[in-house]
Amino acid sequence: MERLTDFMLPTLWLLLRALVPVLALYVVWRSYTSFKKGQRRRDPVIMLWEETSGARFPVLYWENSIGRSKSCDICLPDATVSRDHAVLMRREEGWVVCDTGSQSGTRVNGREIEGQKLLSIGDSITMGDVTLTMRNADSPLEKRRRVFKGFSAEAASPLKLMAAASLVHLLMALQACFADGAFVLIQAAPTLIAMVMGWGLYVYSIGIQHRVSFEIETTAYLLSGIGITLLAAFDIEGVRTQLVAMFIGILLFCFMIWFMNDLDRVSRFRIYIGAAAILLFALNLLIGQENHGAKNWIKLGPLSLQPSELIKIAFVFVGTSTLDRLQTKKNITEFLIFTGICVGFLVLMHDLGTAAIFFACFLIIAFMRSGSVRTIALILSGAAFGVFLVLQMLPYIADRFAGWGHVWEHINDNLGFQQTRVLTYMASGGLFGLGTGQGGLGASGVFAADSDLVFGMLCEEQGLLLGLIVLMAIALFIFYARSDVTRSRSTFFSIGACAVAGMLLFQTCLNVFGATDVLPLTGVTLPFISAGGSSMMSVWGLMAFLKASDERTYAARRAGRRQARGGRGPSDPPPRRPGPGHMRPPPPRRDDMEDISS
């Protein structure tokens, strides 16, 4: 009986810890399903009529390629039309058309166009012998039935999801407060500060900007809070950096969303962003500090910065592109050279993990832009040759990977020391963990326990389940990006979002699989979780690409502005209303979506 009571308290704590992954899973999964629920249906936004034959072409996207090629969004099977003839795009000012290097040129209302030409309803566009007239879409198409509704027909309210995410953090922080038996309130301080920042962003986004969706931010907040609470229990002093970085990261996130609102502005700045990235790399190489084998730090007084983390953002900016530019400038040489420079710098700094991340991101962008498997194969074989050369010149790099797959034969030397510790402590944690601040991985002083090996720490203290849910949250960014890919306002956002989602998942693979001996260990961070201010900042910045890819991000802004002006402008046609009996999410969500059709 005495033994029974002895084990009662630990068992209760265990049950409490088991709640954490359940709640976290709820937040992660419902964020995604709610995100999907709030999306516009794939109805045509305007129509193009060919008056002579009576053919009607629905315009489905914000950017539409027109041409003879089957891969075009609007395919005109006429010999006089070029393969990729023109692009019809929705911009802030209205619908515009521009020629993409066609043989016969493009005419609007009979006049040859140069550059972008603003259109209004009723205008005719002539390409070769085909003339299309722009018309409003009449009636919504039949509602498509989804077989799988994500366990729930309704979208969850952002408030509820944020509250659940905060509860996850509080439950984790509570364990940290009781880690040494007695209650220590200060342990919860970093969690509470992160919470203030998360809710601050919520108020700004929903209350001031009137955005209708907050799912991506909720997931990012959930992950950041988990990371900060975990690290606070490991090193309460060091977590300050993490908090400051999260704050700057959120500011960067908001700034970038504003910045990307105007695509002209983005294309004007692209060249400067690219140049700044290269300069920063050069500066890093010149005045950088070496830290554990990689010269990837710049120290400016009390500040220390890992430039490569911020350059990730610039890299996506340089790589992605709007559809008109994609159709006119088909080769990726320029971007290839830029990648070569970036990866070259990283190899010189001996930061191979980050170099691999840049390269993976490049492959995704290159494929999405060119679609050419041959080009990718060529680049890959070139890269393989490059890796071969690097290994020939720097043989000690290969030695670092010698322990891969044999870590248990190297328990006490540096080929397997870190990985075996991670595996041992991960297994110790079981599915629900030993509790925040109770881990042996942190306490045993294994090098990089809070950064490269943080997944082991997460699993030991919070359990394998929460570890897997964190991974799932990061993997789901791919689905966020994919579901926006044809709905976003431009291929610029589509490619950017996919590149970011792929980059983060690749980085996660390197971190998690490196620490657990599925892959060789490379020193990269786990997004949102690992200690590292630059990493935290950059990952929030990268979130902006995912957020900007969601058309609602900007739709709500305009709706809000218009309301402030007192209703819709006179030139706007009346919005299309969904049919009666149609289940719709709470306003203003659906109405905001309509403004693409105006």
Binding site: F7, L14, M368, T420, F513
Partner: protein, 448 residues
């Protein structure tokens, strides 16, 4: 945009790689998590293990406030170190290492968390008797070696002692540098092998019994203390001439020349074959622990080498655990019926050593009478507690110049009341009876 959208499926390649990696990671943890968690450096292990008790309920190890504590009796700590294991986990064959998962209540779901369930199940009752162990340890008189004894009816190991040893409660600071602790992490009963000397004559005798079932007992050879066989001399202990001997006399006097001739008449193949049937060159399993192999290799041995091998010299090596099990088989008519075990249940240290028959019941009965005759007519029953009816063979394995021999005694009690089989080896001793015999005597006294 359609095309760009379509191309985004390239992300699914990455996703597939990711899912594959996660699957592999989780599957590995499911399969090997137990071993991973039981690493000695794991800081979560210490102080989480349940109580370990001996067969009479004496606490051998327990946890208090996150610390691992051992018996209050210093001699018990020294004698049972290798059976229980040390806190740091260097003794890989100890219960705390081999059954660490059971002692901590580890499982895939709750990991090393303490729960109501682990609180109730993490204790472990061993079959050993702490008094028999301390008696054996003390009788070894500070020498290195091994002593192991089990009940061949039930399989319970009652005594298991290995030396050199150290105190797990106060680990010596110079353990890595001091020569006295060399090999202290090794359990000699399971992981040690020693030159067997004359105890190997039991094997040679068994081979002869099966080669000549009708005539082995009447076969005689002459001994003059020393004889040139195969180009060099085979000598008896102290050059003593035993005259004309049959098997009983040869076993009693432990005559080397008799067995050297016997082996040469048998041939190396027959001796090799019988030794392997008796468990030499076999990988014995003691639960999850692989026992060090007793070994013999007579290929290419000349007549002299075969002669020396027949008396347990040459390159022959024997493991104490194996010798004990072999004696258990002789006691039970040729089969080791209940394999030795350290715990009562179906645990990691209670599995079968090697199934099957080692020798015919006739051979077993003949060996039993030979070994009984040794004690009755040569060593003296007064050595052992009354009524134990001990059957045994001593041995002095010569290990090289200037070093005193390994002194052995292996045997069993042919008694329903005391069904014990044992093997004792003491390094650098003075003689089989004088050095190993007293250890056997001490163990049996403690169990009487």
């Amino acid at each position: 945009m359609k095309t760009v959208g379509f191309r985004s499926i390239v992300l699914y390649i990455l996703l597939a790689v990711f899912l594959g990696g996660v699957g592999l990671m989780v599957a590995r943890q499911l399969l090997y998590g137990r071993q991973w968690a039981m690493q000695p450096y794991n800081m979560n292990l210490t102080g989480q293990m349940g109580d370990i008790k001996d067969r009479n309920g004496n606490i051998l190890a327990r946890s208090e406030d996150g610390e691992r504590l051992y018996s209050d009796d210093g001699t018990v700590r020294l004698a049972l170190l290798h059976t229980i294991g040390d806190t740091a986990g260097y003794i890989g064959t100890g219960v705390q290492s081999v059954m660490g998962d059971r002692l901590t209540g580890y499982n895939f779901v709750t990991g090393l968390n303490e729960t109501i369930l682990t609180g109730l199940t993490s204790g472990l009752d061993l079959t050993v008797d702490q008094y028999a162990c301390t008696a054996a340890y003390s009788a070894m008189g500070g020498h290195d070696g091994a002593a192991i004894l089990y009940n061949y009816e039930t399989g319970d190991i009652l005594c298991k002692v290995s030396a050199p040893t150290f105190d797990p409660a106060f680990v010596p600071e110079d353990i890595e540098t001091n020569g006295a602790y060399k090999g202290a992490y090794l359990d000699n009963t399971l992981s040690g092998t020693f030159t067997p000397g004359s105890i190997f004559k039991v094997v040679t005798a068994a081979a002869a019994m099966e080669a000549w079932p009708d005539s082995w007992s009447t076969r005689t050879y002459d001994c003059w203390g020393s004889e040139n066989i195969g180009g060099s001399d085979i000598t008896c202990l102290n050059g003593e001439a035993h005259g004309t001997l049959d098997m009983y006399g040869a076993m009693g006097h432990s005559c080397n020349i008799y067995f050297a001739h016997l082996a040469n008449d048998l041939g190396s193949e027959a001796l090799q074959k019988k030794a392997e049937e008796l468990g030499f060159n076999a990988n014995l399993q003691f639960g999850d622990v692989t026992v060090a192999k007793s070994s013999i290799d007579l290929s290419g041995a000349n007549a002299n080498q075969l002669g020396w091998a027949a008396v347990g010299q040459y390159t022959v090596l024997a493991n104490p655990y194996h010798m004990m099990a072999l004696m258990g088989a002789v006691a039970q008519g040729g089969t080791c019926k209940e394999p030795p075990r350290l715990t009562a249940g179906g645990d990691a240290l209670s599995k079968v050593i090697k199934p099957g028959r080692m020798m015919s019941p006739d051979t077993a009965a003949n060996l039993k009478s030979l070994l009984r005759s040794d004690v009755e007519n040569y060593y003296g029953d007064w050595l052992f507690p009354q009524g134990m009816n001990v059957c045994a063979k001593t041995g002095t394995g010569e290990v090289g110049e200037g070093i005193a021999p390994n002194c052995w005694m292996v045997g069993f009690c042919d008694s329903a009341q005391y069904p014990y089989a044992f093997a004792v080896v003491v390094e650098e001793g003075s003689g089989g009876i004088e050095t190993a015999g007293v250890v056997v005597s001490a163990m049996l006294q403690a169990l009487a």
